[in-house]
């Protein structure tokens, strides 16, 4: 089974802003040309831009490649080229074996058909034989947990049910290559867990996979190689943890250390003791910089923000002003202690130089990463440092 393979060789993809053809006058020659030859690639025309530039990678059996990067970096374009929805402008994309693509599938179910009919339709859209679908039908229904609604038209489904059905069909395709895009964000937490386990199981069988997700933790636990894509180019390639770190640096990218408003300069930020912090434990970061002399009407503040790399969301932000900390003139070292009451994952601690003259100005400073490891298991957004005790008690009604 595991003889699928993916090869992306120097792929460039050109897109056009705005409408494709402005008039019939453009269309007819274009169609004529497409009949005779492929459109000439090379140069960029007016309103055109490269969505992918010279992207190459290879995924062999037993490997799973994660692709991360900011929105618009070209991640989905890569997947669409892999599943042949788009054709590269230059270069080659080669996928050997049957492709199973898990790409926001729920939306393509037909609302007027029942769940059962949709399973058969969707299965054959994905390239399954009718007999194969029939054989796996019960398994698919069981996985989707929609047994009671299988003969209900899909238009009566909730969007979660819709997505569950779509995923369940895709997850039972016997694929030689897996292409996964953000479907991890489907259904409720319990289903997400099962969907993720299913994917992990498929990848574990040695099926080569390409995964795009903003949930970096999942990339880290699913993939053994990762690419950071920025502006259509590979900015970093390496093991997922390093790639995630590169992404964090990229996200809080600063031009070389520079003076903030009023001359405040932040040079570096680092963990006081490297290594992961247990969920609920304390992390200490040290920010080094140079503060200018106090002046009338000028206030200097060092801001600290904690960002979740899974969601990109800022979870916490504060500053020296809120803590009544004054910065000494000249070179300084600021120690910041944070209690990481967050679920296990990777977090970026970012510094900012803020100043008030007439209005507030800010400048992003350096950032560092905190790896939070699992303490006692929990589900949710906040580590509440739960303590539990159990003791025997006299049972009611005993001894009667």
């Amino acid at each position: 089974m595991a003889d699928g393979q993916v090869r992306f060789d120097g792929v460039w993809k050109k897109f056009r802003r705005g409408e494709r053809h402005d008039s019939l006058r453009d269309l007819i020659p274009a169609l004529g040309r497409s009949l005779v030859s492929r459109p000439a690639a090379a140069a960029l025309g007016r309103q055109e831009f490269w969505a992918l530039r010279d992207v190459s990678f290879e995924v062999r059996p037993g490997e799973a490649l994660g692709i991360i990067g900011p929105n618009g970096a070209g991640k989905s374009t890569i997947l669409k080229i892999l599943i042949r929805l788009l054709r590269p402008t230059c270069g080659a994309s080669e996928v050997r074996g049957r492709v199973g693509s898990l790409i926001e599938i729920g939306g393509s179910l037909h609302p007027d058909l029942t769940g059962r009919e949709n399973i058969f339709l969707q299965g054959s859209v994905m390239g399954m034989r009718r007999a194969e679908i029939a054989r796996k039908f019960d398994e698919i229904v069981e996985f989707s947990e929609l047994a009671d609604f299988i003969d209900t038209p899909v238009k009566r489904y909730s969007s979660g049910m819709n997505a569950r059905l779509g995923f369940s069909v895709a997850a039972h395709l016997e694929a030689d290559v897996l292409i996964i895009d953000e479907v991890l964000a489907v259904g409720d937490a319990v289903f997400q867990r099962r969907a993720f386990d299913r994917m992990k199981e498929m990848v574990g069988r040695g099926v080569p996979a390409v995964v795009v997700s903003h949930q970096l933790e999942r990339i880290a636990s699913l993939c053994n190689d990762a690419i950071l894509l920025a502006k259509g180019q590979i900015a970093f390639q390496g093991p997922p943890p390093e790639c995630i770190a590169a992404y964090a640096r990229y996200q809080s990218a600063v031009p070389a250390p520079d003076e903030g408003p009023g001359g405040l300069r932040l040079d570096s930020i680092a963990l006081a003791s490297p290594g992961p912090v247990e969920s609920g434990g304390r992390a200490e970061v040290v920010i080094a910089g140079v503060a200018p002399a106090e002046r009338e009407g000028l206030r200097q503040v060092v801001g600290v923000r904690v960002r979740s790399l899974q969601t990109g969301e800022i979870l916490f932000a504060t500053g020296t002003k809120s803590h009544d900390v004054a910065l000494p003139e000249g070179p300084f070292e600021l120690r910041v202690e944070l209690q990481m009451n967050v679920p296990p994952g990777v977090y970026a601690v970012e510094s900012t130089a803020l100043g008030w003259r007439r209005e507030r100005e800010g400048r992003g400073g350096p950032a560092t990463l905190v790896h939070v490891s699992g303490g006692p298991g929990f589900v949710g957004q906040v580590q509440m440092n739960c303590a539990m005790r159990a003791a025997a008690r006299a049972a009611a009604g005993s001894g009667r």
């Binding site: 269309l27 690639a41 090379a42 140069a43 530039r53 590269p88 009718r130 180019q233 990229y250 600063v254």
Partner: protein, 286 residues
Amino acid sequence: MTDPPPLPAAPPQAPPRPAALPALRDDLREMVAELIQYRELLASLTRRDLLLRYKQTIMGFGWSILMPVTYMVIFSLIFTRVVKLDTGVPYPIYAYTGLLPWNFFASSLRFAVSSLTSNSTLVTKVYFPREILPFSVILVSLVDFAVGAIVLAGLMAWYGVGLHASLLLLPVVVLVQVLFTAGVTLLLAMGNLFYRDVKYLIEIVITLWMFATSVVYPVQRIGGQLGPLLALNPMTPIIDAYRAVVLHGQPPAAGPFLGAAAFSAALLAVSWLAFHRAEFRFAESI
């Protein structure tokens, strides 16, 4: 963290080399191979559309009979009461043998023109040869055609038209019509993907085309300066061929019918190739 952020390097100045031009033979092989590979999808999509016909409609397949029958009644009134038209056979059956295949052609065009755009979620998310969508529309219309043929059989019994050995040629006539229809629908579906005007334009074209074809009267009688122009319409020999094999017990008129057959095959080959070569742009152009 003192590492500089990994900003992407500038793109190379020299433009990258264009992808190699695949040979015509490779394209043709791919087209056929994919159609075979995806035949079950063609069946599934056809089944889906037939299923949908039954959902939330009371008449179901009744609708496929109603259209040609209504036209037959209207034109029978006109051409037997208002103006007498001599067609050699009872007029209603003359009209119906024209209207039934015409309806097959017209409804294929009408639904196929938006087959890509109305399935845009499929087109933009999953790869499959896109010609499957217009092809499945033709298959659905073919089922309607078969259902409508029941009425034709009834009319033949009523008017005492016997069964001729020439009926054995019927599949050939249907095949030629399918080839021609496929050629036209591929162009229309592709055109409508880029320009939605096609969908509106085609309604007018279908109406004009019907009266330029021997559907409800022998179009050859128009003659005059329009005559040579009308003789170029491949649908007329096809519809005449239906009448020949069903009503007159004769093979289709060799010259015009073979001409139409050759033209249909050539049209399909060219439009399918054009469709196949434009296909990779569908997902980004829809």
